[in-house]
Symmetry: C2
Subunit: 299 residues, 2 copies
């Protein structure tokens, strides 16, 4: 229970920050705020900001100075889900057990709500940087963290993965291409969730290397677990219809390697993630807990 | 001819920068690069970067240190056009006389190409900031410029305008609402095109005030001229079918104030823009030229 409570307390910090960051607005443009809030407050694991706050704690930093960057990653993640769900893309009606953004607000507003969240991710980080940075070194590490996040969410990261995903529908991907797609689509931003906070906390190169290995492994494990659940879980648990990837003709770890082999890979990769943290000793307990949680979750 | 040549030389600087910034890519994700390049290299007036470079010159700054920020605004402008043209939004088949992005690459890739350009705007500015900033003051003004751009393109600026635009289709807007919509939709980013470079060039508060008045006036003039041309020009000249705003039931300056009154407003507002620059004396000649060009253009 201790892990769950701690995880929830960090997720709550992120939720409060985002709730405050994107408030209702009564102007002529109020719909865009409602649409952004709808998806931001629709729940979800908050994995990315929780990872960032866990890294802050690893370095004995209070959450405050990391929170705006950790939550910006979540805003980016959320925008990508809104756009992914559009009829033009995956055409999903449900997300996290709720109607998708475009089913509630229409396609046009959903496009703009996604754009708005992506834009706001940078707007909020830049605003916080401007109000908080003191020294040249302080500016430098904050700009460095933002640049890493930008690179991870862009065409060298998440968006590259999305376009490969779309173009591979109905085709069988090679194991190499599948891995590359997921490294871009989910791995890059998960890595940034861990490394950007480490940069903000003045991590050494060795520490960044270890945390990078941890992040890459949990990113991969996250996707393999998702693919396993897609064929094994129900709408009730997953928040989306079972087997929806297979229905779209998408290559997954399960369709390429089979369910048993995928489960074996998940186990090994999770252990690799845990091993990467050895230089941190007992301080890495919570990050280890996250790796185990991701491998054992059922949604 | 001198004005035109100078305008073109600054537009060429922006074109070269963007051509180099978003190159072809031969990876699995190559489509996203092609789609981004298609819209980036599809021409256009390059008003926003030209304004930025003109401001740099006003302050005797070389173009180099302003170019990444000036072009980031153009990347943002271009992404907004790609998303605006989508079937989910305005459903336009032509832009600048060429097929729109989604007509060439499909809706899914067009959504991602827009996302990619928005993301890249921040990625490229942050990368340049990280590689160029020397002192604390240098970082500060660069972060300040980026923050202004982010705010202008987000839900307090351009995106607010877009959502009001969409929701007002088929409704008659009040003159106040029409003005507010355009101030957000096109005015905010044009203002940022002028003010962000001024911040980078260490402009004083008085200078920023004057340039802000100039930018607000040319932003408004730009829209009024667009509305006048929409009813008066042909596909050949405008690159989109004549009267397409009216067809969508959109309120414009012409539908609300009439063509004659709109032309009178355009004349007055252009003069206001020119008057705002008086504190700069003869150095503002080129910015005055831009104001006149915007009022007299036919595309």
């Amino acid at each position: 229970m201790e892990f769950k409570e701690k995880y929830q307390s960090l997720a709550d910090l992120a939720n409060s920050y985002m709730d405050n960051e994107i408030q209702e607005n009564e102007g002529l443009e109020k719909t865009i705020y409602s649409a952004m809030r709808y998806s931001i407050l629709a729940g979800g694991k908050r994995l990315r900001p929780v990872l960032g706050l866990a890294v802050a704690e690893l370095f004995d930093s209070p959450p405050g100075p990391v929170l705006p960057y950790a939550c910006a990653v979540e805003l980016i993640h959320t925008y990508s889900l809104i756009h992914d769900d559009l009829p033009a893309m995956d055409n999903d009606d449900f997300r996290r057990g709720k109607a998708t953004n475009h089913k509630v607000f229409g396609d046009a507003v959903a496009v703009l709500a996604g754009d708005g969240l992506l834009n706001h991710a940078f707007e909020s980080m830049l605003k916080y940087t401007l109000s908080s940075a003191q020294t040249r070194e302080d500016y430098k590490k904050k700009v460095n963290a933002m640049q890493l996040i930008a690179q991870s969410s862009g065409v060298k990261g998440m968006i590259a993965g999305q376009v490969i995903d779309i173009e591979s529908e109905g085709k069988k991907l090679s194991p190499h291409a599948l891995k590359y797609m997921h490294k871009c689509k989910t791995g890059a931003l998960i890595r940034a969730s861990v490394i950007a906070p480490a940069i903000l906390c003045d991590a050494t190169q060795d520490q960044i290397k270890s945390l990078g290995d941890y992040a890459d492994n949990i990113g991969l494990a996250f996707q393999i677990k998702d693919d396993i659940m897609d064929v094994e879980s129900s709408l009730e648990v997953m928040g989306k219809p079972q087997g929806s990837d297979a229905e779209l003709g998408k290559s997954t770890y399960v369709t390429i390697f089979g369910a048993e082999e995928s489960k074996k890979m998940l186990f090994e990769i999770t252990n690799n993630a845990i091993d990467s943290l050895s230089i941190f000793g007992t301080k890495s307990e919570f990050l280890i807990g996250i790796a185990k949680y991701l491998a054992n979750r059922n949604n």
